[in-house]
Symmetry: C2
Subunit: 203 residues, 2 copies
């Protein structure tokens, strides 16, 4: 299946500014994107990065500097269904995760993210369009309903954990040994335990 | 399968103090526990609440005021395997989630929680013991390894989301309509969107 992977090549991961400088934020965002692309390749899917600016990687890159929703809807419109979209900041994903996402025989399959986002979806119907701003998981459910389509959701921790805030970084180190986790270790991040919770600290 | 459900009936959910008073924290903790018990019952499992103090609910309650790890290990020791343990602060769980947890044919099956915890496990081997403090997911993996047992992990968002902090409350309202979600709505919580993230606010 064709999967688009939206990637912000201009100002990625701004909320990680307290722990990573601008160059590091780009390097970490790139590493996470490479992990997503590797998992898609392992699962036999065909990935296209939908980048806000020029970006080099092994997958084809389509540059679209418009807002996320506009760029994704334009890409969906030009693509034959079934088609999927998966965010680039999901370093825990594996090939098995994409098998779960593509397995349900529903018109639209959504994987919710923490905080009410939509971290990935597959659509088998060309009527489905995205609206990523302000609580997209519930908006997308409503759109599926309004289009009179059948919805399935996927219960996946690995698809739900997007790395937005410094507190999310620990999840990468706990649950992955791939490119993003290796990059974090290379710049000095390691796991520590504070008040019973495992956190990432930088030495 | 027998499942123990540890429940702190004395000082539950202390980290929710910024948004719930003491009586409300107990009421919310109880509502979450009832959701876990209902999901276990729906899945055909046999639940025993392992409470730090007297607690009334439809399931049998075993009172053990010792620390979580000591109480769980004592319960495991007196029970024939297979046996499971699932935390009481997981209001998103459903019967389907317990089917995922009990499906893998490994000696020990662990469902990680956000922040490096162990939100649920099933053990089919009496050698496995718990150690919940300070990053229990990695500790439990090590214990399984040290006992030379086979480990499986479960990729479940619904098992990973425990309600520890005020920011977690939104997940209950987004993904559940059961007892805990209804209780939150009854005391004035509702969803709002702030900076693109869906949050729970109290009116």
């Amino acid at each position: 299946m064709r999967f688009f992977v939206p990637f912000d090549a201009r100002t990625p991961n701004t909320r990680l500014a307290p722990v990573l400088d601008e160059g590091e934020r780009f390097a970490f965002a790139r590493a996470m994107c490479l992990d997503v692309l590797a998992a898609l390749a392992d699962a036999g899917h065909d990935a296209v990065v939908l980048s806000t600016a020029k970006f080099e990687c092994d997958a084809p890159v389509r540059v679209d500097s418009r807002s996320l929703s506009v760029a994704v809807n334009a890409a969906l419109e030009e693509t034959t269904v079934p088609v999927g979209v998966v965010m680039a900041d999901l370093p825990l994903v594996t090939a098995a995760v994409f098998e779960k996402l593509t397995a349900p025989d529903a018109d639209v399959v959504i994987a919710p993210g923490l905080g009410g986002g939509t971290n990935a979806f597959v659509t088998r119907h060309s009527d489905f369009q995205v609206d990523y701003h302000d609580g997209s998981y519930q908006k997308h459910r409503q759109i599926v309903n309004d289009c009179d389509l059948a919805l399935a959701t996927v219960d996946s921790f690995r698809l739900a954990v997007d790395i937005d805030d410094p507190t999310d970084i620990a999840e990468t180190l706990i649950h992955s040994d791939e490119t993003a986790a290796a990059w974090l270790r290379s710049v000095g991040f390691e796991l520590d335990t504070q008040n019973g919770r495992t956190v990432a600290v930088r030495s």
